[in-house]
Symmetry: C2
Subunit: 336 residues, 2 copies
């Protein structure tokens, strides 16, 4: 039995239309800090009319896959599956395991639970890793969203081993790994360790609109996912942009540095406003405050949209401002 | 048991890298007539950096869905599911029916059989509609590719009824319907008739690279497909382009007319070269000739790439040339 709420859309950050309805008099343009996306996008390379018109060609797809294998440190390009976003990969992966028990390290990105339920799994959420070993499908977001918790490679590999014994699978969503503790990535272990890793292109490269993600998996599972997605899994513009960006090591290194600095600046700015960060990645800070609902309102009326959480109204998540004016706008709005 | 060939990539039109390997000395640029895509694309409207950077917003997705419902004459926007191409819809739809017998009207677009086998169905191909009633999943491409056969609404609805009795489903892939006999589309019947219709944006609008397609289905099935694809099924650029194009009635009417004229011109040109069309839609002509392999070679050496078929070497499919120079190049190459 699939629970009816597996069909209902969840609320997410980035919905400025919702923000405008909540705060109709707010000054425009809205400053959207409700998502966790690099505010300084990779400069879009030449995208030609051909990229829109023609079917994406097999050779470019191979180049993209190879560049992703290198950038994400996968064993080989046979382990890499390009896809139009992580969502469809989550659906396909949840279907690789016969319906059983899915255990998710959480609270976390809510789509994982919805998609696992849709695939027919009975879903539980656990605040620690240990219970995940007992499920048939274990899912961890590492670093976790929204609390920024990082799990060590060793403890995750132990969960994957337990999964293997029961014919299950560990999925590690590394959407926030690019700017984070890359040494804890399981990408290099996907061939042997009974784990599938998800990597998001859009967050780190600031281009969430092109819909590009990758599954890193054992050769056989990767072939299965590739076969499900078909011969043209990714759009022409996403191919053109993705293959350039994933090979641009200077930009990648510079972005890691500047995101790290911006995250420190955001933490200080929040601290100066009396808000303590209780969790973070390089792309967001999470604060806890009994006044969170009032702060959400005050920022909203000033045209600044942050992420609140229905299930815990004391939490607010702040993405990174981009331009200097945006930083000052946030600082001023928090001060009033 | 999933047959191993369900994992192997099939060969398709549009693979110019393959053409270049086959004909290394051919004059560039290649004239690619191996696909069946409108050679005069919809003029790309303003696509902003925001469309690449931000997550596609819910309001735009709703607009796209509404415009598609009108353009394709679906009962309502609740029946419309936007997706990044028909391939992933085929995979998800094949999974809606418990593994059983899939029957496909064929020969046809080969991905349908591959994807049905991947979902665990035992696949047969039938040259007529009648046997499709006995399967659990029936698939018809209408008009069919590559022979252009058109099936009437009434006969398809009867197959769908038989499917209902056995808990099955009829899938009608109307990828070539936009320029064709739209009166035979089943789009208006998806709520009640136990049928899912697939519509491709890229062929008619000449923008196959943006990856945009739609499933038209009963409200409940549509909700299920939408839930599997998640909140951001389509890229920002595809959203921006799709919602403009599907509302541009003047362009749509003009394109139908000019594609019809181009198809007639292509038929005459082939006739003058001694090649008789044995099937067509407004986007391609299929010819049968004992000399097909030689013609394929001769055209290839002249830098013109057409579609051949492994399973029947006497067939060649010709897409439409675009510019006047391309028409003359084809005419000259066929004459030599």
């Amino acid at each position: 039995m699939i629970p009816p709420n597996a069909f209902a859309p969840l609320s997410h950050g980035g919905d400025l239309d919702a923000a405008r309805k909540l705060f109709p008099g707010a000054p425009e343009p809205f400053l959207d800090l409700s998502t966790a996306i690099n505010p300084h996008p990779y400069p879009i390379p030449d995208v030609w009319p051909e990229d829109f018109a023609r079917l994406p060609d097999a050779e470019s797809l191979k180049r993209l896959t190879g560049n992703a294998a290198t950038a994400y440190a996968a064993p080989s390009e046979d382990n890499v599956v390009p896809a139009p976003g992580s969502q469809i990969l989550m659906t396909l992966i949840a279907g690789l395991v016969p319906p059983g028990r899915a255990a998710i390290l959480g609270p976390t990105y809510a789509e994982h639970a919805r998609v696992a339920a849709l695939a027919g799994h009975e879903v539980t959420t656990a605040p620690e890793l240990a219970p995940l070993g007992e499920a048939n499908l274990a899912i961890v977001v590492n670093p976790n969203n929204p609390d920024g918790r990082v799990f060590g490679k060793g403890e995750l590999l132990r969960i994957a081993e337990k999964q293997r014994d029961r014919g299950g699978l560990l999925v590690v969503d590394e959407a926030f790994m690019d700017a984070g503790p890359r040494g804890e990535s399981l990408s290099l272990h996907v061939e042997d360790a009974n784990v599938i890793v998800l990597r998001s292109f859009g967050k780190f490269f600031g281009l969430a609109g092109i819909r590009l993600s990758f599954a890193l998996a054992a050769t056989e599972l990767a072939a299965r996912l590739r076969a499900s997605l078909g011969p043209w899994p990714v759009s022409g513009p996403a191919l053109a942009i993705g293959k350039a960006a994933l090979w641009d090591w200077d930009w990648i290194d510079a972005a890691r540095l500047s995101l790290g600095r911006a995250a420190v600046r955001l933490e200080r700015l929040l601290q100066d406003a009396g808000l303590e960060s209780v969790g973070h990645t390089e792309l967001f800070h999470l604060v806890r405050s009994p006044e969170a609902p009032q702060i959400f309102e005050r920022l909203g009326r000033a045209g600044i949209f942050v992420r609140r959480f229905e299930e815990d109204p004391q939490l607010l998540r702040f993405g990174l401002p981009g331009e200097e004016a945006a930083w000052q706008r946030l600082e001023a709005a928090l001060r009033t």
